[in-house]
């Protein structure tokens, strides 16, 4: 389950953000903002993806770097929502 979540999140980031940069990969813990991969409209796209893909509804208070600023943080956040829903 976790591996599946991580695969989907990583694919989305790579398909939508990473390809813009002059680099081949991103570490799980790397800050997407500091790396220049996402900006304010990128965050909107990321939220729309997570809500559509994982059936979540993100409250404003959840749209924070602690939940969204690295692949690891995103996976942890999605898994925590799954745990609540289960």
């Amino acid at each position: 389950m976790r591996a599946d979540t991580e695969r989907k999140v990583r694919k989305f980031i790579e398909d939508n953000f990473l390809f813009r940069e002059d680099r081949a990969a991103i570490d799980d813990g790397e800050s997407l903002i500091d790396a220049g991969l996402i900006d304010s409209t990128g965050v909107l796209e990321l939220v729309a993806f997570l809500e559509g893909e994982f059936g979540l509804r993100m409250a404003d208070a959840e749209i924070v770097p602690e939940n969204l600023d690295s692949i690891r943080a995103i996976v942890r956040y999605v898994e925590s929502k799954d745990a609540v829903a289960a």
Binding site: D15, F19, R20, E21, D22, I33, G36, I38, D39, S40, T41, G42, V43, L44, A59, D60, A61, I63, V64, P65, L68
Partner: protein, 515 residues
Amino acid sequence: MRVEQFLRDSAQRFGDKVALVIGDARVTYRELDRASDRLAGALAARGIVRGDRVIVFMDNCREAVIAIFAALKAGAVFSPINPSTKADKLAYVINHCGARALITQDKLRAVASAALADAPSIALTVVAGAREPILSNAVSFEAALAADGAPPVSPGIDLDLAMLIYTSGSTGFPKGVMMTHQNVVAAATSITTYLENTADDVILNVLPISFDYGLYQVLMAVKVGATLVLEQSFAFPQKIFAKMKAERVTGLPLVPTMAAIILQMRDLQPNDFPHLRYITNTAAALPPAHIARLQALFPSARLYSMYGVTECKRCTYLPPQELARRPGSVGIAIPGTEAYVVDEHGARVAPGVVGELVIRGAHVMKGYWNDPEATARALRPGAFAWEKVLHTGDLFRADADGFLYFVARKDDIIKTRGEKVSPKEVENALYALPGIREAAVVGVPDPVLGLALKAVVAADPRAKLTAHDVIRHCARHLEDFMVPKLVEFRDALPKTESGKISRRLVAADSLEPAA
């Protein structure tokens, strides 16, 4: 009056007051004044003299604010450059204005270093936060501040240039807007007058200070002795709102994209920000529905719809009490200036007639650096023989009471995310991608961006280019806001009778909204 006097006066009046809040750091007016004195001393000691151009290539950080005032105190002319600028464009700007110094920061060292290889005019590079080894021949920003330098006693007069602001030109090459100290003081005085700014204001700025709207938040806050909360981005609005509450922010400058993001939030409540006194919007008009919803969310705040061009900083503002009656208007000339609509002969037209907006005032630029032809097109003789007025290149009309309405641009410049993009500049980058035979860049309506950039290209099928390939190529050669969001491949692009690719015909075929 010169611009650095804003800082000297505020340091004199409010020495211990917080001038800047950046992350967890607070900088007082006295500290900002002293730090910029020292950096100015370091610049002067290393040969920077009156009139030299100094590039400030930094993000929204404390050091950028110090660098701007230090350059002015040294008698130099600063030019702020967007931190997402790539090396070839940075080198172009440096060479275009013959800059003598570059002030940057460690995270931008790779781009700076690549640009410096092609920029022989740079005699001094200053790097903030540098890890060892710093760029060759560079000076550490921190070491420069530690030395007890002092700026020259007489850096110049207020007719000297204060700054060069590079803005997109329809030719595809950016133009350097020349602003004297007098121009900047006139614009800052006019704007702070109608916004009724005082030392009690706390202004939160997330706009890049390389962009004149963001830059003026710094200059105007310092002018009135207000506190400026400087943030890097609007990526996480919740963080910004928490900061607004904690710092009791009174002023919030927006562009329409930020307003659209705010209005997508679900849990904001009216009266969450009782201290907020005003919101400003510029770059493009807000849709009337957004105006109504912003007013409902921020009932304590007056909303100013404004309009400007880099060439005079700000043209018009709508007094907030007029907003309900004329939500589509960007108002009247800012205090102490004139704004009017003319026909192709320069004669004023009647209300309701569409013509070009012309601006007259002490805030109008002196011209474009080293570009007399473009300057002659923008600054033209006005009603009086002894002066020139600014032709904005924007089509406007006025209502019967003289309130102004934006109609369209005369050229092909596209406004996206609040920034001006020359389609030609993006097309030039596209043509550098092997396999691209024809390219046109157009704006398509987007609910958040205003207009989203769309690249319409005809490619050699053997190159097997994908949309990702095209966007990646652009991202490596252009600033972030110039990178197309959408790519469409066609066999051929529509041409005019003379065989030139027609952006207008391309756009007519591309009107479906962005995904």
